[in-house]
């Protein structure tokens, strides 16, 4: 087996993806994008191969979700939710549960990276204000978001990439993995409720004014309330519309693109701020990864990679466990762009693809390094990569993920995802 220049370059790209796992945020996006561009140039990949319709569908879905998340953020949506729970005079434990439920619902429909990104900052402020340990709140949000996101095509970037690539619809996702996502999310919430000790042994009743203070500090715009109601209406339309669009014969990307333009158009001059909130570097990151994926397909490296990974991807079970382990170390979307060419080359059946989707999502929820959003959120704790911090996170993540894995394996065994 010999490597040609194309194969070597692509493998170097994959190595970069691994190495840059330790680099966070914008710099990572920069490195991946820059490398991908050089790769495309050196491999002479034609423009129409790089930028096909699937590429645009993925970017349109992501753009639309970012616009929606931006409107919710500007409306201090999460802050108002927190204040609403507090008005009900809930104690901190119950607030934790409500936060988990909210994160789960939102993550199922909006990309979980965005939910975690916008919610965690507020939770830190809230925990600081009421003088409690933020870890349970933050861990719960991360784990529940990752698990709930598994259930829909729009819940996670890797789902978007894999779903669009395979041509799976929103409803197919819900039918196939919705139940597993629901069960593991419920288990996660119940588990969190019992193990969380927000304020040592005491149940801490939060004063109403303190939460209001946190929310007020978040309100930077005089029209936050308008954004809030606007965001709620748009969110409901989107949630109802995603499954309906398919019945109406619209593709998900077309429907979401339409929603995004409608949000921007009807929102008038305020939308400039929503535009500013879009995390454009994430587009660069994703574009870079998609280009690397095309590089793998276009060069001889698919065959090399297939040869190298064949033992690990020979059956849906091995795909499931391999993706579970790998995506607990690297971001699941990074795993997806490497796995897609290999599984395509192997002519893998549906079961293997669902195994990849499930395995990579569980991997993201399992480890603090499993997703871009996890790293982003946890980097606010000092020493978040220390041994103790990892142990702490695993204490929260292993039981619910284990339940999800067991349910998945039972369904695989029953042939729910197709022939094994």
């Amino acid at each position: 087996m010999s490597l040609d220049i194309g194969g070597e370059l692509v493998l170097a790209g994959i190595l970069i993806i691994y190495i840059t796992t330790v680099v966070k945020g914008k710099l990572k996006a920069t490195i991946i994008f820059a490398f991908a561009v050089l790769l495309a140039f050196l491999l002479h990949i034609p423009g129409h191969v790089l930028l096909d319709m699937r590429f645009f569908e993925i970017l349109t879905i992501l753009f639309s979700l970012m616009i929606l998340a931006g409107v919710l953020k500007r409306g201090v949506f999460y802050g108002f939710i927190l204040r609403f729970f507090n008005k009900k005079q809930l104690d901190s434990k119950k607030i934790l549960i409500m936060v988990a439920v909210t994160s789960a619902i939102l993550s199922a429909f909006i990309d979980n990276v965005l939910v975690v990104y916008y919610f965690v900052g507020l939770l830190f402020a809230y925990a600081k204000e009421v003088n409690i340990d933020p870890k349970p709140l933050v861990y719960t949000t991360i784990i529940v978001s990752n698990l709930a996101a598994l259930g829909t095509l729009t819940g996670d970037i890797s789902n978007i990439v894999l779903g669009v690539w395979r041509g799976y619809s929103f409803l197919t996702f819900v039918q196939k993995v919705g139940l597993i996502a629901l069960i593991s999310t419920i288990v996660a919430i119940i588990y969190m409720y019992y193990i969380c000790k927000l304020e040592s042994t005491n149940i801490y009743v939060v004063e109403k004014d303190l939460v209001s203070k946190v929310v007020e500090s978040e309100i930077t715009h005089k029209d936050s309330k308008i954004f809030f109601y606007y965001g709620i209406v748009v969110l409901i339309i989107t949630i109802l519309g995603m499954p309906l669009s398919e019945i109406l014969g619209l593709s998900l990307s077309s429907f979401l693109g339409l929603i995004a333009v409608a949000i921007l158009f009807l929102g008038g001059e305020h939308m400039k701020e929503v535009f500013e909130d879009i995390r454009w570097e994430y587009f660069l990151y994703l574009i870079g990864l998609l280009i690397i994926m095309k590089g793998i397909i276009y060069s001889a490296s698919t065959e090399i990679l297939t040869e190298l990974t064949k033992p690990l991807l020979s059956s849906p079970y091995s795909v499931f466990f391999t993706s579970l382990i790998v995506s607990s170390i690297i971001d699941d979307v990074e795993l997806s762009v490497i796995a897609i060419p290999v599984l395509t080359q192997l002519h893998a059946g549906d079961a293997a693809w669902w195994a990849l989707i499930l395995g990579s999502s569980f991997g993201s929820a399992l480890s603090p390094l499993g997703a871009y959003s996890n790293i982003l959120a946890l980097s606010q704790f000092s020493g978040y990569k220390s041994k103790d911090a990892l142990k702490d996170f695993f204490k929260f993540s292993i039981p619910p993920v284990a339940v999800g894995i067991i349910v998945s394996l039972i369904l695989f065994n029953l042939g729910f995802f197709g022939d094994i």
């Binding site: 996006a29 920069t30 050089l38 140039f41 339409l258 333009v261 921007l264 001059e269 939308m271 535009f275």
Partner: protein
């Protein structure tokens, strides 16, 4: 204010009705198809939204794309195929390199250099500033150039007792004119180059002379128009040195990034010049050089990503899709045929019409949509008259259109607001008066240049 807005909307509504009625009439005559009528209404609505700033220009364009798709005029696939990634690539790559140079303190270096020049004559200073701005605008983004040159110019005007109006006005004109000179000077140039296949060198040979002529004419006009102001000295403020004032608004210099970005910028220029020999398209060269800057530029490049004007890239992509969709209906081909019918196949008439019409449109609307819609039309016209002059007239027109009003281009906005902030009571009408003078004189000169250069007098 409300009454004014209401009458404005009523006027637009009536205008819309009249246009719709006329389009319906043309459809009844069998001149336009139903799809063409709908496409015209959609495009007109987008242009009105952009011109009146009813919605953010990117939102307006994206709405137009969605409308074309929803009305079943063009498929999404066709519109996506119409996006010219060569154009996006050049703009994106150039943006990254220019922003890296900016973050590294490139303009700070230029400002310091000018401030140290031992020039005493105010007009000489105006010439130095104008030429520097024009040269920078030819290679870098003219918005960035103006943003950095204006505070430096103001600081120097204060410390040397020069009236700021001629200096700053000339700076705005030069920023617009400088953009005409090269392929990367202005987004319409990139679009034209990509559509026609013009190289960087083609621009240097054909467009740069127009830019030099325009700049010379403008400097002469500046001298005669602002003679009194140039000679009149203001109170010299020696509270702070020019360098200090300029530095207050400058980022800290990052020598490493400055060296890296400048080297790759120069390599990019070389690649552009050698384009015909090495067969690498400008878009590819720009994105590759930008990627190298991102890879090797150090930690500060993360800030560059934040400053990229993503909405401009999205606007341009959306606009290309929209115009591609409209082109698909055959509407632009009809328009081209109509122009040729009106003017006859006379190259001189057509080139002059394109020059004056597109310059006037660019004075009212952003020059990017003007170029986007005129490129397919001129392609059709070109197949009839076969002279490149028609393209160079479009290049000149889109640049010169920017000098008319305070809101015709971003450099004008920057200069106009800076002057007013400095307490200079330059009214909108006054600015337009100056602008119209410069616009008319420059267009006449360029028209004459095109006649002489491309030999229309022999026709």
């Amino acid at each position: 204010m409300m009454v004014k807005e209401r009458s404005y909307s009523t006027l637009l509504f009536i205008l819309g009705l009249v246009i719709s009625y006329y389009l319906g009439y043309l459809q009844g005559l069998g001149i336009l198809t139903e799809g063409q009528v709908k496409a015209t209404i959609v495009f007109a609505a987008v242009l009105v939204m952009i011109a009146t700033e009813y919605r953010h220009r990117t939102v307006a364009v994206l709405s137009g794309v969605v409308a074309l798709w929803l009305l079943g005029i063009v498929s999404a696939k066709k519109m996506v195929e119409a996006i010219d990634f060569e154009v996006i690539g050049v703009l994106f790559g150039a943006m990254i390199i220019v922003l890296s140079m900016e973050k590294a303190g490139f303009f700070d270096v230029v400002g310091d250099f000018i401030a140290r020049l031992p020039v005493k004559s105010p007009f000489a200073m105006i010439v130095i500033f104008s030429v520097t701005t024009a040269v920078l605008s030819a290679f870098l983004d003219n918005v960035t150039t103006s943003l950095f040159m204006v505070p430096i110019a103001l600081a120097i005007a204060k410390t040397r007792g020069i009236r700021p109006l001629p200096l700053l006005y000339s700076l705005a004109i030069s920023a617009n004119i400088g953009g005409m000179a090269t392929l990367v000077g202005d987004p319409p140039n990139i679009m034209i180059a990509s559509a026609v296949g013009f190289s960087f060198n083609d621009f240097l040979i054909h467009a740069a002379p127009m830019s030099i002529i325009s700049l010379t004419i403008s400097l002469v006009l500046t001298y005669f128009l602002f003679k009194g102001e140039i000679k009149e000295k203001t109170l010299v403020k020696r509270i702070k040195k020019a360098e200090e004032v300029a530095k207050e608004e400058r980022p800290q210099r990052d020598i490493y990034l400055l060296v890296v970005s400048t080297i790759f910028f120069l390599v990019l220029l070389v690649l552009f010049i050698l384009q015909d020999y090495i067969k690498i398209k400008p878009g590819e060269s720009a994105v590759i050089m930008a990627s190298l800057v991102l890879l090797l530029g150090g930690s500060k490049v993360a800030k560059v990503l934040q400053s990229i004007e993503w909405d401009v890239l999205l606007f341009l992509g959306g606009l290309l899709a929209l115009v591609g969709g409209i082109e698909h209906t055959g509407l632009l081909s009809l328009l081209a045929q109509y122009i040729v019918e009106v003017t006859g196949p006379n190259a001189f008439n057509i080139v002059s019409l394109v020059l004056w019409l597109s310059a006037s449109l660019s004075a009212i609307i952003d020059n990017i949509p003007v170029a986007a819609v005129l490129i397919p039309v001129i392609k059709e016209i070109y197949s009839v008259i076969g002279t490149d002059a028609v393209w160079w007239s479009l290049v000149a027109a889109t640049a010169l259109g920017g000098i008319v009003t305070p809101i015709s281009s971003v450099p004008n906005i920057i200069v106009y607001t800076s002057l007013r902030r400095e307490g200079y009571h330059l009214t909108f009408t006054q600015f337009v008066k100056y602008g119209m003078l410069f616009f008319t004189v420059n267009l006449i000169t360029i028209n004459m240049y095109l006649i002489v250069r491309y030999g229309f007098f022999r026709l």
